[in-house]
């Protein structure tokens, strides 16, 4: 019998078994969190009888209408927007130049954009705070001053996604062809390369949004009011509602990212977030 055939039946069971185990590992904690958030029965008192008792989404609705939550959500949103803009402004030109003119720089640049992760957030905060407190104290006062930190923290995957996007569309060839046909630099960038990078840019933007919506360390160390920090505060008052809110945010982020991935797949770019 063909060795590949017998292997495949056993392999089928093994593979699906493994996938189901992994899926269970990821789904169960979310279910447990959802149960705690939406059912007003502590786990300790849960019995077979009251499994369906006392479910309600009122906790979530109250949380969503809390003014502090809403205002901090909008603050987080704007921080994300500015961080994305900053990163694009810095990295898109760099990625284009690297891909088109100096591909040798790519490993160095990839490593360099990973360096932010090597520094513990608190060190970054302490270092920046020390210098800015002396030189420009107003900098640390405004919540938007999280933007450079988040831009930095999002750099590792932003660069990689942009780079992967450029490679996938064969930017180099496109560039040289366009230039060869007489297009100006301006035209090549804005009418040839950038439109084709749309998918990668949207992917990078979505990942940054996911980051900002979950980032707690920088915001709390700098004593700022963002959605994650306000959720923690809210948790002190209404644990159930806060967890419902966290779940809600996670689901929305996952859905958005799902949409993004589909968009990208259709365009034929595969995401290698931290690709080797």
């Amino acid at each position: 019998m063909d060795p590949l055939m017998t292997a495949s039946r056993k392999g089928f069971v093994l593979r699906w078994g493994f996938l189901i185990l992994v899926a269970a590992y990821f789904v169960v904690p979310m279910l447990a969190m959802a149960r705690f958030a939406f059912q007003n029965v502590p786990t300790a008192l849960l019995t077979r009888d009251n499994v369906f008792a006392d479910w309600s989404i009122s906790g979530l609705l109250t949380a969503l209408s809390n003014p502090k939550i809403v205002s901090s959500a909008s603050i987080s949103f704007w921080i994300a927007v500015f961080a994305i803009a900053l990163n694009f402004a810095l990295l898109v030109p760099l990625a284009i130049v690297t891909e088109v003119r100096s591909p040798r720089l790519r490993p160095a640049l990839t490593a360099l954009t990973l360096v932010p992760w090597v520094v513990p957030p608190i060190a970054l905060v302490v270092g920046v705070a020390t210098t800015f407190r002396a030189a420009a104290p107003w900098f640390l006062g405004n919540t938007l001053c999280l933007v450079p930190f988040y831009a930095l923290w999002a750099m590792p995957f932003t660069y990689r996604v942009l780079d992967a996007g450029l490679q996938a569309i064969n930017a180099r060839t496109l560039y040289e062809a366009a230039r060869g046909l007489g297009a100006s630099l301006w035209t090549v960038i804005f009418r040839v390369l950038l439109p084709n990078m749309r998918a990668a840019m949207v992917a990078a933007a979505m990942l940054t949004v996911a980051l900002v919506l979950g980032e707690y360390a920088f915001a709390s160390l700098l004593l700022k009011s963002t959605l994650p920090t306000e959720m923690v505060v809210y948790e002190g008052r209404d644990p159930r509602g806060a967890l419902a809110l966290a779940l809600f945010v996670m689901v929305i982020t996952a859905l958005c990212l799902g949409v993004v991935v589909r968009l990208i797949r259709r365009r034929g770019v595969s995401i290698t977030v931290t690709g080797f």
Partner: protein, 286 residues
């Protein structure tokens, strides 16, 4: 042909300037400040703070952090690789790969407070799974799995480590041609032999590099463990404690020194990872 006219040659420099300025101002300079402070405790140059940062309870902190990060990196790495391999060999159902990729993108950024609470709700003393297992007669605590203990925290970290490894390994695994597998089978090699001589060596640099990335990722993770075990002997908690939490005056130098060691350790890991990346690139782009 106007391929290399003057504007482009200046382009490289002009484009890198804002980037360099940003990195310089917000990364290089703050880190330099911290390093200098660590090297000059009490105002004069000395290795005193640096050596104290590796002794006593801080030594324990480093050991604990390294153990924790290694455990979650290796476990997460292995499971992530297998996941990537399994998914790569399955062309049906067609929604599997995109769904997993998008979930991984979200899950790899998950962490912090909600994740900690999700696991408290699952394997905490009143967790769903804990109680379900208790009904069946199994007490998780007998196996040393408490949500605030070592293996509990590893379990929590796996939640974002596995997706990260999956995302990293997918392109590498796709580079592993199915045709090689078939060729090996035709030549009479058992699957084990195939993995030992062909698949393994090709994937090894990527896998090792991925594990190092996971190690770096989990070493500085802060929010999750702050919820579960705020007083624990782990490096990020100790740094926070010295630089922000408690106010033992004069111990800031110690905090800075610990940071310097962390950066040194992680930079070393980063360099090893980059070297491994170069080796792995051969197989992906061929």
């Amino acid at each position: 042909m106007r391929v290399l006219s003057r504007p482009e040659s200046r382009l490289g420099i002009l484009v890198s300037l804002p980037f360099a300025a940003f990195i310089g101002l917000f990364l290089i300079y703050p880190v330099t400040v911290v390093v200098i402070k660590a090297l000059t405790p009490d105002g004069h140059l000395s290795a005193d703070a640096l050596s104290r940062a590796l002794s006593g309870t801080y030594r324990r902190g480093f050991i604990n952090s390294i153990e924790l990060s290694l455990a979650s990196a290796v476990l997460g790495g292995l499971i992530g690789v297998v996941l990537a391999l399994v998914v790569a060999t399955m062309s049906r159902p067609r929604w599997l790969h995109p769904a997993l990729e998008s979930w991984s993108a979200v899950a790899s950024q998950l962490g912090g407070v909600p994740l900690a609470f999700a696991f408290i709700a699952t394997i905490g003393t009143q967790g769903l799974v804990t109680r379900a297992l208790a009904e069946m007669g199994l007490d998780l605590r007998d196996y040393g799995v408490t949500v605030t203990g070592f293996w509990g925290i590893v379990l929590v970290y796996l939640y974002f480590q596995i997706p990260l490894m999956f995302l990293v390994m997918t392109p590498a695994v796709q580079g592993l041609r199915q045709s090689w597998r078939e060729a090996a089978a035709i030549l009479g090699a058992s699957p084990l032999r195939y993995w030992l001589s062909v698949g393994g060596p090709i994937l090894a640099p990527s896998v090792l590099g991925g594990i190092i990335l996971l190690f770096i990722n989990s070493f500085t993770a802060y929010a999750t463990v702050f919820v579960l075990n705020p007083g624990g002997a782990l490096v990020p908690l100790q740094i926070r404690f010295l630089l922000q939490g408690n106010i033992i005056t004069g111990e800031e130098d110690l905090g800075n020194a610990i940071v310097v060691w962390v950066i040194a350790l992680l930079l070393l890991s980063l360099i090893i990872m980059t070297a491994l990346q170069r080796r792995a690139l051969k197989w992906i782009h061929s």
